[in-house]
Symmetry: D2
Subunit: 430 residues, 4 copies
């Protein structure tokens, strides 16, 4: 099965692992399916500088294939429209000038129709290239393009949520599905890890991003890790205890930010008639007490951990703990579209390491020892963001299946909240 | 004839001057017609804080009738959607909270379909009210609503131009029509006016805005006025002579603004291959030498006048001069959609007083002696903007016919350029 | 008598009206005397962008004489230090580049000692020029320089107040003098004026600024004017009645400003133990109920007038009313350094037209009909600020005697509050 | 010898290592000595938000002893002035509200005289406490206060440099001393380190900050390190090769910053008559080719390393390499007050590890494994800045002797340039 779309599902045969064209088609289809619940108007607007319009995601992912695969590797390929480079280049300095990031929402033209034609044009050409036989580098670039597209699938959803959360009508991306009322979360269990010299970074045969390399050894001290992420009920205790008003719990920059932006709760939470509601892709709903808290900044995660007398795990600790966990969970394919209480009752093992919420770690996004970015524009993919950002691990309920892995390093600025980000506590061993 | 739309025209019988319903229908239809060349996507985006999306204009003008006419005057009227007040209130404090102005472009919902339904709902109700017989105040409010709608017709076009000018594709609102190549402008003629004690403000029986009242006497000294606005060819001389780089020509605030925003020419002008092009509703085109310059700020108008050794006229001088001019010219009904060279060869009289470009005057937008704003929310229409703005007179090529009059006072901040604003020179008499 | 300084007073013979050197000496001395209560440290800092350090005032006024009098008119004059032009030019584009205005507080060098030497150097040279016999233009420039210096005397005091008000210690510029406790203000009387065609602008033989010219006729409608400015007790009623929280009382820009800067009372007022205190040059003190309110913006003055059902006078009305009033009152020479209750019991005539507080008028700072700025850099004195500022009339308790006159036009941005600005109400006649 | 002051030197007996009072006196004296070349005016102003006025440094360091030592530990201690807490608290939330950081330059009061009296008051009380016998915690706090004071000694100098660099007169802190003209730098040597599991963090008996603890083991891969920092001559090559204009050399945030702040060279460099000059504490001077480059941001350091095909060392690598180096070099005690060419010809060992310039490392300022901040307000000293800052190592030519050590972790934001910061290259071993 390719990622089943949360929207109108269509059964499809499972693409062979090695059938790149089938995987290409399935991935590209999923992006479109994710956009189905939206009208053309919804696809134009940009809620915040960090987010992008749906239409822009549809076009940019195609521009990626055009620029890095088709132009260099498909003989005789003709650009769909030479002006699109300016419109849909995200941040590749080596690929030329571009629309300023905060003004992507002004691109009412090209219209959606034309962007969809651009997608078809690119898809046809990639198919042609694959049928002709792509060389090793071209194949590697297509593979990269598919993982890039998956990242934008998640962004498409988080960006629509940001847009709809800023709309006074609080519209839903899709109708709400029936859900069990959540109860109190199960008590947190602490799992002890012995640490030691451990391999870190991508080791297997499959795809990985350059920032997961090179695989190297690291010395990890013994540590304890919570068996699940922090739940909404626990976050409400933090709020009730004055967590957002207690300066000494916060990093200095975090406190300043929380003051200037008047944070009182996670992003998208609002108080109506004395009750907290959270904006979700299904509209406003009370946060389930036993589901992981989401849409928090690193600053909030860090303040919560300090309030709880704990800390955040390092990315090395997290990766070591994840090594034994199955890469499965509440990912996009579950169709839940929001974090959920842990389904599985298996105790004494880390749960919800994958899916539900990206987990902030204590680690900065820095190059691994011996890291070298790939040559050319592709080298800008991750390398130029290796400063002042923080690593998150594990994927979220909006991450496409097959996209995440134990060595996967997501990264965000400490202040950012529009991604589906939560936290898991760590501590020194007793 | 109602305002003939520049887009697909439909012949219609001329509404009787006293047939309010027919005028209502014609005015409301024109707004829709102006939106026809646009797709739903184009109608969502907001190019700059001062501009609004087309869809917002369509909805706000309907909200105006609903709020100020239907709710108070049509018994049993039901709001189309109670949430629309928040979405589409522009600035009326007395009418409750509202979407922040710079975030109108995030209102992808309600969708265009629903906004069009809103318009029909309001139109039906207004028709019902008029058929039942509206009382004097209700009639006055409907009349106000129609003039309000006409203002938004012009804004709809200026705001689309701002959006398309910010789009890297520079799309056209409509295909370019064949035009004569412009030649050098005719020499400026100076017309002498004797001045004296003159009545100022609206005097006749027809509609006017509150800021045109009360009619009062003013003492105007003798003055001279140019027979036509400043033309593009003259503006190019100003540029060539270093007008944008000569501090002593500028007001202090204007110079600071011109530096910080890097003004080198009117808004929407850009240099390609050594030639100036101006963005218009028909796309990029070279500015016609003999057409009035447009899209300049008050600061630029004032600097040009100083460079020319002249000055801007006061609004009293302008109104005195306009008293003898026919209220006709290159208005929206001409379908030109841009300023044009003076058509009429009549000499020794002011030409192009109406239409083509709004003319910056030397006057601040202040209340006339004895002015009193209307009671209630309607009192916010103009009164609360009587500070730090400047009066423009005469209408532009985007102003609906029947909207402008000699006493009409438009007003903008000195820095604003996105309206179709130009200038006419004045001087002391010899 | 020259302006008696509020600080250590030194008896001096009265300079002959026509003895320019004596007036020069007296004026220059007063500036120094005003700085006596301050230490060198106090003279360095700049509280807000609009204010300047005392040391800068001392130097800039000397630079003015050096640049506009000595360099062009004293043969063989040598600049005290060529680098001072950059440091102490305020805003004259024609006089070259300069220290950015908001960074005047970084000029710890040149030190005060050197600035005082600069003053002596300039004073000696001016004396030399006068003894040699200055020609007509040089004499006119020296006269201008003295009036310029007087403006900076007032600014020196308002800027020190801004600095000390921003200091957590709330230091006093001088020790508090004993004062009578103020009582309730006397009831406001309304004085009727018939209006008519009246001469406006400077007419007499003495000095005036270019913005008071040319004298011209204006038509003023009948009006009523309050016999005194609005008093603190009345302002407290405005506060108590929710004046600062009622949007419909405010101009649109004023309301936005009042929200963003959290205005709840005039500038420098703070609430301690349930009581309002105002920061003054004598430190924190309760505002006297019967003294004029001070340190309000145009926006507040306008909102108050609307709340009171009145309006602000135009500058023409004010000048007409002031024509019959003696140019005397609580000016700097009184030594009070703050607005006071009206001393004189003369009824049925305007009181406190001069001194106490600058009175905001309804008029924008625009050129008079036929106005022409002087040629050269001096033309920048007022002309380039004839936009987006508002006229105040009458002088304040910090204005040097002899500086103000009925035709004097001060001007500020509507948002500014650091000057000693208040208001007087006007109304239509019954 | 206590730290010999660069200014008027006074021979003093060497305080016994264990004589805390003597060390207290010597440290406090040095702060004063550093302020001697400055007038009271110079001590008031704040050049940039990150810097502080000299007077503020003098007072804040005293406030530190008063608040954290005297109030809690000296029975009967009376605050010098209760208002000083507000004025001179830097950032301790637990110690109450405070003057906003960017407004420290407005504190013309308390005057310098009073601040010096405050210092004496505190010094007397500390002496009394020490004579009475301070307990262990009080002693520890005094020790902390001395190291804190040393940090402010360096800041006092960097902040004065920032102030004088912003002054159009470019004044010198002290007269220039004769110097040898620098020649080309000696070729860089690469030193190989084997890495391995190595202890990191403070281990010895002496003082350290909490962020150097706990000492822990880390696994360091083999690496190569340059024997000296990058020199000015090398930086000029980077400039000449377009380093500041080549986007692909830069981190994304760094590129944006370099554009918006128009970086073309290190801070304080300016081009006059075709030659680069650098502002120093001795005024403008050409940068010595063989001296380490200083006043660069992390972004610039990183871009340079990429341009050179190398990288920055991690702080672990740096600490490992520094373990064998003597803690000596061009520190404040040398009196040079600027980076110098390496004096010692010892080859095959790291040179200039201490002094000259703080060296940017590749490491973020994060807590060490098992780190716990001290309880109470002292816990805010470093802990709340463990986010989004970068570690620098080794001290500079402005660092007091005895202040720095191999485990010392300084930290700054990546964009900051006003400290004496440079870089040393690292690389993978061949």
């Amino acid at each position: 099965m390719a990622e089943p779309a949360p929207a109108p599902p269509t059964p499809r045969a499972r693409p062979e692992e090695d059938d790149l064209l089938a995987r290409y088609a399935a991935t590209r289809d999923l992006t479109l399916e994710l956009s189905w619940p939206l009208g053309p108007e919804d696809m134009v607007a940009q809620a915040i500088d960090e987010a992008s319009p749906t239409k822009w995601h549809l076009a940019h992912t195609s521009w990626f294939f055009e620029t890095f695969v088709l132009s260099p590797f498909l003989p005789g390929y003709r650009l769909f429209d030479p002006a699109f480079g300016f419109c849909f280049n995200s941040y590749y300095e080596a690929a030329g000038p571009r629309q300023p990031r905060p003004k992507r929402g002004l691109l009412t033209r090209p219209t959606l129709d034309r962007v969809l034609a651009f997608r078809r044009h690119v898809d046809d050409a990639v198919a042609r290239l694959l049928e002709q036989g792509a060389d090793e580098e071209a194949t590697r670039r297509i593979e990269l393009g598919l993982h890039h597209e998956q990242q934008h699938q998640e962004l498409l959803l988080t960006d629509i949520l940001a847009l709809f959360a800023a709309n006074p009508l609080r519209p839903a991306y899709r109708p709400a599905r029936p859900r069990l009322a959540g109860g109190a979360p199960e008590p947190l269990l602490w799992l002890a890890f012995a640490g030691g010299v451990t391999p870190i970074g991508h080791g297997g045969p499959g795809f990985c991003y350059d920032n997961e390399t090179p695989r190297h050894e690291a010395l990890v001290a013994p540590f304890a890790l919570a068996d699940r992420p922090v739940a909404n009920a626990e976050w409400l205790e933090f709020i009730a205890d004055g967590g957002y008003e207690t300066a000494t719990l916060w990093l200095s920059d975090g406190w300043d930010r929380a003051r200037s932006e008047e944070w009182r709760a996670p992003a998208y939470w609002e108080r109506r008639d004395g009750e907290w509601l959270a904006m979700t892709l299904e509209g406003l709903a009370p946060p389930a007490p036993d589901a992981p808290v989401a849409h928090i900044s690193f600053y909030e995660a860090d303040a919560f951990a300090r309030w709880a007398g704990k800390r955040l795990p390092t990315e090395y600790e997290w990766e070591l703990a994840a090594a034994s966990a199955p890469v499965a969970g509440n990912l996009l394919a579950s169709g839940a579209l929001r974090p959920q209480a842990p389904a599985a009752p298996f105790r004494r093992r880390p749960r919800q390491m994958f899916g539900d919420v990206w987990e902030w770690t204590a680690s900065a996004h820095l190059p691994y020892p011996g890291y070298r970015p790939p040559p050319g524009a592709i080298g800008e993919y991750n390398a130029k963001f290796m400063c002042d950002q923080h690593v998150l691990r594990g994927g979220s309920c909006l991450t496409p299946a097959g996209h995440v892995r134990p060595s996967y390093r997501n990264f965000l600025y400490a202040r950012q909240r529009w991604q589906c980000s939560g936290l898991r506590l760590a501590a020194e061993p007793r």
